[in-house]
């Protein structure tokens, strides 16, 4: 349980593992503990669990089970998708397209390929963090192998129009592969792989109350891809390593629950999120909500382009880290930038995403992220807004 009195608003970093998920995994650890590669019955039974999990996950995307590849999480899925496809299709071309606001698992992989001699085009985003589908198409060339665009940005919650992007890039080059990092999207906003023409889609289990160290990559049938891990040849040779049966079982259970509850999740959280944004912007002066969620209804159809669970808040005059620790004293847990990059040098303030949306200088080092989950309550957000209303003016006295 999240301890009484604690308000956990860092669900984009990770979520609490669901009790039902844990219960499902428990049996897979203790009873059906076999290795699916073993020839005996114990192995066969474990293999069945893997197959069922695969079927469940395929069902959540409306794809075939053979198109689901289990991985250790979002980072591995992104690496496999990008490295695997770039290398397998290098004879067709050595050009890749991505965006300026990708998670490091994509951005650094692209950098690594650039060092191997691939050419990488990085698409800019507008001040809401959105990619222009026409610009994406414009970047695609004859020799473009892969386009990778994240579905929902982890820092500012920008939801890309993958359908428009998918169609635009295909119109330019029919053979181009389309990958999306859906780690923050899966179970939160609808993603239709057919509609969008997605060939590869990365998912991480612990972002929707599943176990850490689990995830999957959807690989459309017929996609040319090479493994990045070599060994026993599990999962059709594409991902060697003993199958993580309990992980797959937990992942599937969590995924089913997330997808079943997606519509309700989004509806409820958008309401909570907007009420929260209203409250803090009324309560405090000189603060800023970044990304699409910060735009007024007249400016855009927010519901379509802002993730329901992410609020990026800039508080000029207060260092994000200090605000984070002050909130922590009130047992409220948020993130400064993205949790994964908090260790990065503090020489350049802000993150690549915040710089890419052209955030003003005084906001770069003063931006926190609050991320909601299905367990988040109205009461918790009201308390958080009250805490911010008390803490921010106090900290601003000592700028």
């Amino acid at each position: 349980m999240i301890q009484a009195g604690e308000i956990y608003l860092d669900n984009a970093a990770t979520t609490r593992c669901d009790d039902e998920v844990l219960a499902a995994m428990d049996a897979a650890f203790r009873v059906d503990f076999g290795n699916p590669s073993s020839m005996h019955r114990k192995g066969y039974e474990a293999e069945q669990l893997m197959k069922n999990a695969q079927k469940t996950l395929a069902g959540t995307l409306g794809v075939s089970p053979a198109e689901i590849l289990f991985t250790s999480g979002g980072t591995e899925s992104d690496n496999l998708a990008i490295l695997g496809c770039a290398r397998a299709n290098a004879r067709r071309g050595r050009h890749l397209v991505t965006t300026a606001i990708e998670h490091a698992a994509v951005a650094k992989t692209m950098e690594a390929l650039a060092e191997e001699g691939f050419e990488v085009t990085v698409l800019p985003v507008d001040d809401r963090g959105l990619v222009d589908p026409q610009a994406a198409a414009g970047a695609v060339r004859e020799d473009t192998v892969l386009v990778s665009v994240m579905a929902v940005n982890n820092e500012i919650g920008a939801v890309q129009d993958l359908r428009a992007i998918g169609r635009a890039i295909r119109a330019k080059n029919r053979a181009v592969l389309f990958h999306t990092d859906a780690v923050q999207a899966y179970g939160k906003v609808p993603v239709d792989v057919r509609e969008c023409g997605i060939d590869l889609l990365s998912v991480s289990g612990h972002k929707f109350h599943g176990p850490k160290g689990t995830g999957f990559l959807y690989v459309k049938k017929g996609t040319k891809i090479r493994p990045i891990l070599f060994g026993g040849g599990q999962q059709n040779g594409l991902r060697s390593g003993t199958d993580n049966v309990p992980g797959a079982v937990g992942l599937a259970a969590a995924a089913q629950k997330a997808i079943d509850g997606q519509r309700q999740f989004a509806g409820r959280l958008i309401g909570l999120r907007d009420a929260f944004i209203r409250e803090i912007t009324e309560q405090m002066t000189d603060v800023r909500i970044n990304g699409p969620a910060g735009c007024s209804a007249e400016e855009m159809h927010r519901g379509e382009q802002a993730a329901p669970h992410i609020v990026s808040l800039s508080v000029p005059g207060v260092r994000a880290e200090v605000l984070l620790h002050a909130l922590e004293d009130a047992h409220i847990y948020v993130s400064a930038g993205s949790a994964c990059s908090s260790h990065a040098a503090k020489k350049t303030p802000g993150t690549a995403t915040l710089r890419a949306i052209g955030l003003p200088e005084d906001c770069l080092a003063s931006t926190i992220r609050l991320s909601l989950s299905r367990d988040t309550t109205e009461e918790e957000l009201r308390e958080t807004a009250a805490a911010l209303g008390e803490i921010v003016p106090r900290l601003r006295r000592y700028r």
Binding site: E321, V322, H325, A326, L327, D329, H343, L395, R397, Y398
Partner: protein
């Protein structure tokens, strides 16, 4: 006799301590015993000016040496083979010669059946005969052993002027054979000086300063000022880790964690910005002194070094120093360059932890141009602006201190 099973431990300065000598020796025995208890079962004794550590069972040689290299007072560590008396008698020259040959086989891997084509290594035997009842004198023993070694091991040759291997044979209450001396940290045994309060931050300097004073036999106590929410739990853990790393040498350190936020903000609000750091440091010294007196410490230790930063100019140091009323402030790094400090810090294993990137309370609210030539009368006048508030906040900070004991065996693993 397949392996070293003992260490002869050499110590230096203790020898000159006159009538207090036994106090120092006892402290050293305690220190060596404590260090070796962590790595195996050893019997540590001091007999006639020689300190022996003898293993009761198998042990990891590297771990034992590393442990001994953290015991202050140890000048040199000689891995040794010892041969006890049988029927109160030392071994005769034949048995002794055989033991010496086996020592060379064990320590250097020389072989009796070597072809002789290998490059030779030179040696010299030095014999010390303390037990004058031994039938041969030391020259005779050395010559006889040398001959036996030469006969048995074709890879050896004699060089009495510049030998590669200086082989010691001691005939004492037992026989000691040794040929290597691994340097120890030097200094004086912990617990022979007194107790001092170290102002410990997350930086590179203060752990080194604590180490230096502890090396002179002092026991340490420490104080850390944290400033939540401006500093984090990780910053505090880093300081605890540093305390544990220093404790590997100095023994357990009681760390007083003092919440400094309210004091810092009061100064920030009411005193001139460019004097913030110097006034802050005076407050820290004052609190450290109070804690020191309360805990039987007879000195303060800081990592200051002249001119390193604005608050460590000679003028600033004079002003900081004046905040301390009754205790000496030891500043062992006062004349060290930064690189020299870093070198020691790397050697004692605190550097990697010191450079972890967490904010500490000296780096927040830093004025762009802090005073470098503060005048005590001016500073004190400004302090008087918040005198009462400061007294009250100081009292509260001390009353609400948290105490953590830093132990060497809880130090972070070295990468």
């Amino acid at each position: 006799m397949a392996d070293y099973q003992a260490f002869i431990i050499k110590y230096a300065e203790i020898g000159v301590k006159g009538k207090n000598r036994h106090l120092f020796e006892e402290a050293l025995v305690r220190g060596v015993q404590r260090a070796l208890d962590a790595v195996g079962e050893f019997r540590v004794t001091c007999i006639a000016g020689r300190l022996y550590a003898e293993a009761a069972r198998d042990f990891s040689f590297d771990d034992a040496v590393a442990a001994l290299q953290r015991v202050f007072g140890v000048l040199g560590i000689c891995p040794a083979v010892t041969i006890p008396r049988t029927d109160r008698k030392l071994p005769d020259i034949e048995a002794l010669g055989e033991a010496c040959i086996r020592y060379f086989e064990m320590a250097y891997g020389f072989r009796r059946d070597a072809r002789g084509g290998e490059p030779k290594r030179s040696f010299k035997v030095v014999c010390r005969r303390v037990d004058k009842s031994y039938p041969m004198d030391s020259m005779e023993v050395a010559a006889a052993i040398g001959e036996k070694l030469l006969d048995a091991l074709p890879e050896l040759r004699v060089d009495v002027h510049e030998p590669d291997i200086l082989f010691h044979v001691e005939l004492r209450e037992q026989v000691n054979l040794f040929s290597e001396e691994i340097p120890g940290p030097g200094g004086l045994p912990t617990g022979t000086a007194g107790r001092a309060m170290l102002l410990l931050s997350g930086g590179i300097d203060s752990p080194v300063a604590g180490y230096q004073i502890a090396k002179r036999g002092a026991e340490l106590e420490a104080v850390y000022f944290h400033a939540p929410p401006y500093t984090s739990d990780r910053a505090k853990q880093k300081v605890i880790d540093l305390g544990c790393l220093v404790a590997r040498f100095a023994g357990p350190i009681r760390l007083h964690v003092v919440n400094f936020t309210a004091i810092q903000l009061a100064i920030y609000e009411k005193c001139p910005r460019d004097e913030l750091t110097i006034i802050m440091r005076r407050c820290m010294m004052h609190i450290a002194e109070e804690l020191a007196v309360k805990n039987d410490c007879i000195g303060l230790i800081t990592g200051e070094s002249i001119g390193q930063v604005a608050s460590q100019t000679m003028q600033s140091l004079a002003v900081t120093d004046a905040a301390v009323r009754s205790l000496p402030v030891y500043r062992p790094l006062i004349a060290h360059d930064k690189q020299e400090i870093i070198t020691i810090s790397e050697r004692i294993g605190t550097y990697e932890t010191s450079i972890l990137p967490y904010e500490d309370c000296c780096t927040i609210f830093v004025a762009k141009h802090p005073v470098t030539h503060p005048r005590l009368d001016v500073i004190m006048r400004h302090e008087r602006l918040i005198e009462e508030e400061l007294a009250q906040l100081t009292r509260q900070a001390i009353d609400e201190e948290e105490i953590v004991t830093c132990r060497g065996n809880e130090a972070p693993e070295q990468g």
